[in-house]
Amino acid sequence: MKLQRKSGLQALTVGAVAISGALLLTGCGSDNNSGSSSPSSSSSASGSSTANASGISCVQGQILASGSSAQQNAIEAWVKNYQQACSGATINYKTSSSGEGIIDFNQGTDAFAGSDSPLKPEEVAASKKVCATGQGINIPMVGGPIAIGYNLPGVNNLVLDASTIAKIFNGKITTWNDKAIKALNPSATLPSTKIQTVHRQDDSGTTDNLTKYMHGAAAADWPYEHAKAWAAHGGQAAAKSSGVSALVKQTEGSIGYFELSYATSQSIPTVKIATGASQPVEATTQNASAGIAQAKVVGTGSDLALDLSAAYTTKADNAYPIVLVTYEIACDKGNKASTLPLTKSFLNYIASDSGQQQLSSAGYAPLPTEIATKVRSTISTLS
């Protein structure tokens, strides 16, 4: 009797071990399917378009899109406005990451994808399978400043330049009263606290863009190539911008980077950048737009990929140099006939003046006029 009870219990624990192991592993495995398991891009968009009071020319139907979380808040606001103005239209933007968005797009499940860096050549090549007669192109849509936030009680209006920022994040400057920081902030009383740098633990377009800036503006002090993964040693890592900003908020003597909205919402002071302009430049949406205005279009044909390197080294007044631009990725030709009308209509709306004006309130930077004009004409040629 006892024997039986015991072996029953043992069998139970064996089973539990096996099941928990299986659950664990399916947990790892199922991640991989998230890109491919989404239902195939959907459904019909009837071509009937009507202009309405809000200036949106409505198209009904349903489209799927996915990608960058950097533009999540902007897209959410736009989708809400569009769907309010146009009953019968459904735009489903799944926020994942730029990488997953591009994979979804190249598997044909997305009408358009959002990405915080332009397509790589091999990704363009892969897109030709989906865009029967054309290829995937980058359409810049949402600009944003990357703020350098810090936690240093008693010090406001901290000013740094590209070289000191790179040295701090690279561990070459380790205390707040370092000579280089003192020289940029002659009137501030800087403590001798050690600097705690905070960077992203997950791979991220924000890291990619910050390291592009540091490498572009101070290559001697940031010897690493730009990358989505943090290349330097030392410092602390936290998950996502929310984790980085929370850690900066929590830790005295810390400095980190995140999108401006995180600094605003938690009232974390941000660094003003000494760019060589007459005044150090503050991280604001307006200044970021001025920074992006320095960028050159390097995409060919209807592709509008931007080269931001001119923005990193700009000396123009009120032009904030640490900026990122997210792109919407669609086919130039060969978009699916079922999704094209709504895609075009939605992109038209978000690139329009009224669409772009929404951005500043969410901590993003509207596209500068010159680029916005090119974007609109590109969208009108999508087919």
Binding site: M1, K2, L3, R5, K6, L9, Q10, T13, A16, V17, A18, I19, S20, G21, A22, L24, L25, T26, G27, C28, G29, D31, N32, S96, S97, S98, G99, E100, I103, T193, K194, Q196, Q201, D202, D203, S204, G205, A227, K228, A229, W230, H233, G234, G235, Q236, A237, A238, A239, G243, A246, L247, Q250, T251, G253
Partner: protein, 327 residues
């Protein structure tokens, strides 16, 4: 060691089943099917992991087992699991060192010391701990535990720095270390170890305990002489279940740990990483190759888990003769 004699349990005589009904056959088929399905699923997972992992490892320009960095997107790709394996094992060991004694203590308290009025509610509260999602543990860990562990970190660094393990390179850095992760994991695996241990301890024959009492044993001696030997293998099983969860825990670790490709013996330093934490951090922006590389690391975790479970079975098998299970 055991001086208690029990009469051998009379096994009920088994009769060969002479009559089979449809229900018997259906049930037998169903249970056999479930067993086979489990094996098929496990085999499918193993094959999937192996195929994807092999293609990634063959293109790795570093040594997969000894490289610290995880940079499969570089050209040439270099990635390795040294830091991840170390971090996974160390954080799990810390968790086990904290959780197993406490869980055993709680289980014994509920079954042998607490008045019935108190034991029930305590068991219930422990069950509640198991229902908290791991991301909540992670947020609690990052926002509450990390700042509040600063004092303990400084104390350990001050007085135990000579042990090397408790040396902290930068006393000011936040406590987002393998040590903190271990504490958090200990809280997370406490309920499963406690519950299974409690069940096992409840199975200890009353006769053994009463016999010990009759021989003049104190309550502690009863536990030491009759309860623990009988429950040992069950408690080891319970601990292994907990260890399985600790090895694979993802979100809580990713939220708390400050991951970086540094392998350090100082468990208070905010460096290191674990398999699942690395997967969740790198998966989002990984391309096809990067995903295969992450799957390869998942395979290593699979193997480690298998080894741990195998070791546990071995221990249980060797302990069997002392365990009282043969009583």
């Amino acid at each position: 060691m055991t001086t208690i004699e029990t009469p051998p349990a009379a096994a009920p005589p088994r009769k060969a089943a002479t009559v089979t009904r449809a229900g018997d056959r259906v049930f037998a088929a169903m249970s056999r099917g479930s067993g086979i399905l489990l094996l098929v699923v496990m085999a499918a997972i193993a094959v999937f992991l192996t195929v994807r992992a092999a293609s990634a490892i063959s293109k790795d320009h570093g040594n997969f087992l000894t490289t610290f960095e995880w940079t499969p997107s570089l050209n040439p790709p270099v990635f390795g699991i040294a830091v991840l394996a170390y971090g996974t094992v160390v954080s799990s060991i810390i968790a086990m060192l904290i959780a197993v004694p406490i869980a055993l203590g709680i289980a014994l308290f509920i079954t042998h010391y607490a008045p019935r009025r108190l034991g029930g509610p305590i068991a219930y509260v422990i069950d509640l701990l198991a229902a908290v999602p791991s991301i909540i543990y992670g947020l609690w860990g990052a926002l509450f535990l990390v700042p509040h562990l600063k004092g303990l970190n400084l104390w350990l660094d001050n007085y135990l720095s000579w042990t090397v393990i408790f040396h902290k390179s930068d006393p000011n850095s936040a406590a987002r270390s393998l040590f903190t992760v271990g504490i958090l994991l200990a809280i997370m695996i406490l309920p499963i170890i406690t519950n299974v241990s409690r069940e096992v301890i409840n199975q200890v024959p009353k006769m053994h305990q009463e016999a010990a009492l009759a021989l003049g044993a104190t309550r502690w001696e009863v536990i030491r002489l009759s309860v623990l030997p009988f429950a040992r293998s069950g408690v080891i099983s319970a601990s292994m279940l907990g260890l399985g969860r600790a090895l694979g825990e993802t979100m809580a670790v990713a939220t708390v740990l400050s991951a970086s490709p540094v392998l350090s013996a100082h468990i208070l330093d905010p460096v290191g990483g674990t398999f699942s934490q690395n997967i969740v951090a790198k998966f989002g922006e990984a391309d096809e190759f990067g995903r295969d590389a992450l799957i390869a690391s998942g395979l290593v975790l699979f193997v480690i888990t298998l080894l741990v479970n195998g070791a546990a079975r071995l221990i249980i098998a060797r302990r069997k003769e002392y365990s009282g299970a043969n009583a």
